[in-house]
Amino acid sequence: MLARWQFGITTVYHFLFVPLTIGLSFSVAGLQTAWYRTGDDKYLRLTRFFGELFLINFALGVVTGIVQEFQFGMNWSSYSRFVGDIFGAPLAIEGLLAFFLESTFLGLWIFGWGRLSRGVHLATIWIAAIGTAISAYIILAANAWMQHPVGYVVNDSAGRAELKDFFAVVLNSTALITFPHTIAAAFMTAGAFITGIAMYRLLRTHGEDLPFRTAAKAGASMVLVAGLLVAITGDIQGKIMTEQQPMKMAAAEALWQTEQPASFSIFTIGSLDGSKDVFSIRIPDLLSFLATGDLNGKVVGINDLQAQYQQSYGAGDYTPNAPVTYWTFRWMIGAGALAALAALWFLWAMRGGRLPGRGAVATAILLPFLPLAANSLAWMFTEIGRQPWIVFGLMGTATAVSPGTSTLEVLITMVGFTLLYGVLAIVMLGLVVRRVRAGLPEATGDQGLEHDADAPLALGY
């Protein structure tokens, strides 16, 4: 149980930084490309401003990622033994293909200003950005295997699952749809981050920080386009999930009895334990459509699935925590939708040189947190919705932990990581706020930037 909390805490924390890293790396690369093409100092200043924020975020993403690589063995050694033949390879490949690329080329980017030619220097940030995307794909393929195991056989004499078809694992349908969903969400996160900060600066300076106008518009457009893609890919994902993990879909709606057609509730007051709802707002047929693509489709309820799983897997409770899956699913969609609405409002309010009114400051501050919340909720939803399985249909989570580690040891590391992560979050947020308050750096060309360590916003040290 403690191991689960630890994995949950460290993973959700790690994933606060990951989407920002992915989205911001491409955004910063885009800004620098704009500068490279136009030579307009505005883009250089934005590149360095958001580049700095990107690096502050990236540092935490990297160090918390090391924990991810190690804790499968530390806390989940039975899992590691059972699936290592399949699950280990993606982790090793992610390191070899992606982590080296990201860290090496970011080092070149940070310290390469004025030392590399402009074209080569621009290439380094693009390569680092591509590295983040490769990393995302590989680790999502590994996770997809836990959601929807393919390309394996269980070897009873060796007591483990063994890889039979590497390409089936790499091209898992679950991975193919989760990747665009996650990448779109990452762009939405970065877009909201950029929009929120740029709008805050604009309002604070009464519109005088002109480059931020460009940034706010670009960021808000990014939120809208990416938001649309998140919705489309999420919809496809929902249908695949209904096929592969019907229990998760049923739990997402807290649908206890099979319905045809099934309605979708936006909001429910009640216990969600299958007894009567006190109050709920329902849209007829919507769940059928979300799950099957057909307004009249049949959605199997939790009770029927539970009975079915008992037949296949033996006696036991195969139902995930329905209230948690129900609410994380809704809050995820809600937070994403709110972010898109805020972006839409900002875009409208900025038309023809205008600025939004007073309420916009609070919205601008809140905006970056909305997709971050949606990302975390999405992971909680998809991981908690898979329970009691760690590998769907193959291995229960309870049997996956390290048998040799004591409760005290797990408690020590859990409290240790939580405290450390808490402190680092405060430090990081403090730095971001400082940088945002300091505003755009003055910059006239890139020559000599890194030779003067105290140049405005020197990225190195």
């Binding site: 540092a59 190690f70 280990g88 390191g95 982590f99 080092g107 890889l163 390290s402 450390l420 040290y461």
Partner: protein, 333 residues
């Protein structure tokens, strides 16, 4: 050659890469406050590792991932068994990474001083603990019939383990010193050069004692010969440093670390984690490995991508080959 043997060798290579590369940036981190007397000097010292330390650290991630992929049982037993030691290493690496990246994000001296301490401790702990871990792997630890480690943190802190820890710690400090003589100028360079010999001699005594002990526990003529070669390379490094041939000195200390790892892995083979409870419970390259199919896939991936990685990492070192100068003009007091 068996694929399991190939992967045993590849994992050895990944650890060599990790210790040779991160070894000097651990050393530089430990030496930061000792050699850097004021802010401009400390900043110059950090700039020697700035562009490369993060790439160096990835070697350990890949070593861990490769162990998971090629020898899941080794990964599971080692990581769940050396639990608290690894936790301490992780905390240290987290604090250190953040410290290096954040120390210059604010101008005030108190902020920097705090992160400097974090960098020193964050470099010191892993430099020590990796040696403790490796000594225990080679020396053998209690492992039962279910491949479970049955000791605790104190089991690892035995005299042989601690000597291993002292060895890596001192080797990395010397390696870091030599790296600084190669990458800095003037006063820092002089100070580092002056320290190479005294620190190096202490290191030599400790490292030779450790390697002899390790080879006495398990090892053969070849692992012993490799250990002797490591010692000779180290003597060469100290002599080259004395002659101000800093590039050669760095090659010498890098070779020392590499050869020492080779000696230990050679002594270990074909076990990957010998059991001190009963030799029959030992994890070996065959009973801990993945399937032939997985190893084949991984081999193809490694053959394609390891040279590419080596290529662009080498290019990074080439780009930043110049010595780092201390810039005093721009720093506030």
């Amino acid at each position: 050659m068996e694929l399991t043997t190939v992967w045993f060798a590849l994992i050895a290579i990944l650890w060599i890469g990790y210790f040779v590369l991160e070894g000097f940036d651990f050393g530089v981190g430990i030496l930061l406050t000792i050699l850097g007397r004021d802010e401009p000097e400390r900043r110059a010292i950090l700039r020697t590792i700035g562009p490369v330390w993060d790439g160096n650290e990835v070697w350990v991630l890949v070593a861990g991932g490769a162990t998971f992929a090629a020898f899941p049982e080794w990964y599971a037993t080692l990581f769940s068994g050396f639990y608290l030691a690894l936790f301490l290493i992780l905390v240290a690496l987290i604090v250190r990474g953040v410290a290096i990246e954040y120390r210059n994000k604010r101008g005030d001296a108190a902020w920097r001083r705090r992160w400097d301490i974090a960098i020193s401790i964050g470099s010191f702990l892993p430099a020590l603990l990796w040696g403790v871990a490796f000594a225990n792997i080679v020396g053998g630890v209690p492992i039962d019939a279910d491949k479970q480690f049955t000791g605790n943190l104190l089991t690892l802190l035995n005299p042989f383990g601690l000597l291993g820890g002292a060895t890596t710690l001192l080797l990395f400090v010397t390696h870091g010193l030599i790296f600084l003589t190669l990458k800095t100028e003037d006063e820092i360079r002089e100070r580092a050069t002056a320290l190479v010999l005294p620190v190096g001699l202490v290191t030599a005594v400790v490292a030779v004692a450790f390697l002899v002990w390790a080879n006495a526990i398990r090892g053969d003529a070849i692992s012993f010969a490799v250990a002797v070669a490591a010692a000779l390379a180290f003597v060469g490094a100290l002599v080259a440093s004395r002659l101000r041939r800093e590039g050669w000195a760095f090659i010498g200390s890098a070779a020392t670390i590499g050869l020492a790892v080779v000696s230990l892995f050679w002594a270990l083979f074909p076990d990957v984690m010998p059991s001190s409870t009963d030799a029959a419970y030992s994890l070996t390259t065959t009973n801990a490995s993945s399937t032939e199919y997985t190893l084949t896939i991984m081999t193809v991936v490694a053959i394609i991508f390891v040279p590419i990685v080596l290529g662009y990492q080498a290019w990074t070192y080439w780009v930043f080959r110049k010595r780092v100068t201390v810039s005093r003009a721009s720093v506030e007091p």
